[in-house]
């Protein structure tokens, strides 16, 4: 590494030097585009979170509390659509991926910077169209199942086209990352010296590029159904509603790996740094990312066990679903083996990383309950499903995002967060999350169905518990975001490498200069040689 004078770094605002609207709106700098994505997606995370709080408030009492059933239907649709399409899918890949892929591979930018800016603005265009659909908001759930979505009075065609645009942005970003990883690695950075975040992002990009066009055509067909009445999904015209479900889940299952793989990549970077130990099983982790991406394409049918799909197909999908748990397990075991006998320190990024493992294991292990045919019939469409995917998506992906935000905050802003506040926010978030969602496993097991504004009185106590938990969770998240805002403006200046990391982003100042590196580094070793020798 080049030993740049620490004082000089502190005076330099790096890529943030230029100010003004145009310098952001027309930027070709991958870091700025990454920051734009992060702000946009985190805004929608908060918006989706407020909607979730309203839903939990409605569920405080068994009967009607503060809204009509239709409003509740609209809210859970919006919560799902916003969180999935506007936050989780673009959040880590487009936000952190944009910022850190070129830095981690020692490149000056992504392969196609103008395409990158275009994809951000397509994303914004998609958001505008999606917001336009609010004139007659959706009430179908985020899955848009036909035939209801073909008949409801809501603005389905508008929303479909909006999501098509968001998907197009996702495709172009994934394409950019694939080409960047292939073509722009620093000299000496062979595939088996790549940081594991890059492997995870590479696998993610492949899924984005392969799966997203299929949901694109699905939404186009849904829009065509609404506008022209083409009847592909309408049994009255000889069409087949199950075809829609197959199309939809052919994308929407692989895309859960678009959500989780980048988070796994972030965790894989953080754990060795705060254990001061080389990552255990480098190749196993790298190839398990590809294996998850590949097998993930073959399991979509497990969303359709009770749809009337053939029994044989159900058995095959069930087997493949169990099979995809194997590479996931490989990752978890390797993280734990990395921790074993490490010199572990508990800074805030590490706390979130460990939380990720803990919560994701709960979320992951409840997956096979739903992947098994017999138990799924009982648990399908209950709160068990809600708990399962919130443990994987929020307990997994969102905790991974929080871990990454705390870990890379000094690099992105050039300033440190307040560590005490960060730990406080973590503790409250952790308690709030588990209070909110763990009880939903029990509710679901006892048969409480999801997506209803009202429920039987016997579920009352548990629902009160979950609603109170949602408030605790909100407090934790608000404190965390307040810390982000505080840190951005008033945090202590960060050195180039506050966590003593070995990956390339730490070998350049915080915040990095526009061209990332004064001189493109030559790589001679893998980035995980912690605790053995100084590099």
């Amino acid at each position: 590494m080049s030993h740049t004078d620490a004082h000089a770094i502190n005076e330099d605002r790096g890529y943030l030097t230029e100010r003004g609207f145009r310098s952001w709106a027309c930027t070709l700098d991958h870091k700025r585009i990454g920051v734009l994505y992060l702000f946009t997606t985190l805004f929608f995370f908060l918006a989706g979170g407020v909607i979730a709080l309203l839903m939990r408030l409605e569920l405080l009492t068994p009967g009607p509390t503060l809204m009509s059933d239709h409003t509740y239907n609209v809210l859970f649709t919006l919560h799902g659509a916003i969180m999935i399409f506007l936050f989780i899918i673009p959040g880590i890949p487009s936000g952190m991926g944009n910022f850190f892929i070129p830095l981690l591979i020692g490149a000056r930018d992504v392969a196609f910077p103008r395409l990158n800016l275009l994809s951000y603005w397509i994303f914004i265009g998609g958001i505008v169209v999606i917001l336009a659909s609010l004139v007659s908001p959706m009430d179908t759930g985020w899955t848009f199942y036909t035939p209801y979505s073909a008949r409801t009075g809501a603005a389905v065609a508008t929303l479909s086209l909006g999501i098509f645009l968001v998907g197009m942005s996702s495709i172009l970003t994934g394409l950019n990352f694939i080409v960047t990883t292939h073509r722009l690695r620093a000299p000496g950075l062979t595939w088996h010296r790549l940081p594991l975040f890059i492997w995870a992002m590479y696998a993610t990009s492949i899924i984005q590029v392969i799966a997203t066009p299929v949901v694109g055509i699905t939404f186009l067909l849904l829009a065509a159904e609404r506008i022209f009445g083409i009847g592909f999904f309408d049994p009255a015209k000889g069409g087949d509603p199950l075809l829609f479900q197959h199309f939809f889940w052919f994308y929407s299952h692989p895309v859960v790996y678009v959500m989780i793989l980048p988070a796994m990549g972030v965790i894989t970077e953080i754990i060795p740094v705060f254990s001061r130990k080389p990552i255990f099983g480098y190749r196993a982790i790298a190839y398990s990312s590809l294996a998850i991406a590949f097998i993930g394409f073959l399991v979509w049918g497990h969303h359709m066990f009770v749809s009337g799909m053939s029994h044989v197909a159900g058995v095959i999908f069930s087997f493949l679903t169990f099979f995809v748990a194997v590479p996931t397990g490989v990752k978890v075991f390797n993280w734990i083996a990395t921790l074993y006998r490490g010199s572990i320190t508990f800074e805030s990024p590490m706390l979130y990383a460990l939380t990720f493992i803990f919560l994701f294991v709960i979320g992951g292990l409840t997956g096979p309950f739903l992947g098994a045919l017999a138990t799924d019939v009982h648990l399908h469409d209950t709160y068990f499903v809600v708990a399962h995917f919130h443990y994987t998506m929020m307990g997994g992906t969102v905790m991974g995002l929080f871990a990454g935000l705390h870990y890379w905050f000094p690099k992105m802003t050039g300033r440190m967060l307040n560590e005490t506040v960060a730990k406080l926010a973590w503790a409250i978030t952790f308690v709030g999350f588990n209070t909110t969602f763990f009880v939903m496993f029990i509710l679901g097991y006892h048969g409480m169905p999801r997506r209803y504004a009202e429920y039987l009185p016997k579920y009352h106590a548990d629902n009160v518990f979950a609603t109170v938990g949602s408030w605790i969770l909100a407090v934790g998240v608000v404190i965390m975001f307040a810390n982000f805002v505080w840190g951005m403006f008033w945090g202590e200046k960060a050195s180039a490498n506050p966590w003593r990391g070995l990956t390339l982003e730490w070998q350049t100042p915080s915040p990095p200069p526009t061209e990332n590196f004064d001189e493109i580094p030559t790589v001679t070793d893998w980035p995980y040689g912690y605790g053995k020798k100084a590099v």
Partner: protein
């Protein structure tokens, strides 16, 4: 391309290969976009073979065949344009780009005649599953032809302003690959809809 820049010959070759990798990835997504429609076609054709047979006889094979010839010819002129760009023959490049654009426009013209005739015979998307598929597949393809004409027009403008040449032919290569893809989709659509339906 900020990530891959430079003026030396090696760097230009590297930039071309990078751009090609990008366009191939993009074409893969296009294949999957149409893949959904081909899947729907397969499902419904297996389910209603008689309907497909009876309905496909209503299509105008002469116009469909003419369009196939037009598009294949446009692929030829595109390939000649790419060759001209590689050799740095600027006038030739402009002529062949213009030919390709005109052929694309005549494809759309024939399509207009064909669809007017269909509508006159009360054949619409939604009439039955075959015509829904026919209009959706051919319609999505027509949108791609229009997009391709946009790409070709941009190339022509660039060529006229002297921005394309022997040392800078990457955009023509990329545009060419996209145009060949658009043709290729039609090569599949024509037999599926007009001949074996």
């Amino acid at each position: 391309m900020g990530g891959v820049t430079g003026d030396s010959r090696e760097e230009r070759a590297y930039a071309l290969e990078t751009a090609k990798l990008g366009i191939w990835c993009f074409l893969a997504t296009e294949v999957l976009l149409f893949g959904g429609l081909f899947t729907a076609y397969t499902v419904f054709r297996l389910r209603y073979p008689d309907l497909f047979h009876a309905e496909h006889l209503k299509l105008n094979r002469l116009l469909g065949g003419t369009n196939t010839v037009i598009l294949i010819t446009s692929s030829l002129t595109m390939a000649l344009a790419v060759a001209a760009a590689r050799q740095g023959r600027k006038k030739r490049l402009q002529i062949f780009l213009l030919c390709t654009i005109l052929l694309a426009a005549s494809f759309l013209g024939v399509k207009y005649l064909e669809w007017s005739d269909d509508f006159a015979r009360h054949l619409y998307p939604g009439t039955n599953l075959f015509f829904s598929l026919y209009f959706t597949m051919a319609g999505l393809h027509a949108l791609h032809v229009i997009a391709g004409m946009g790409v070709l027009t941009t190339l022509l403008v660039m060529a006229r302003r002297g921005k394309l040449g022997r040392s800078r032919h990457t955009p023509v290569e990329i545009g060419g690959l996209y145009w060949h893809f658009v043709d290729l989709v039609w090569i599949y659509l024509f037999p599926l809809l007009y001949l074996v339906g």
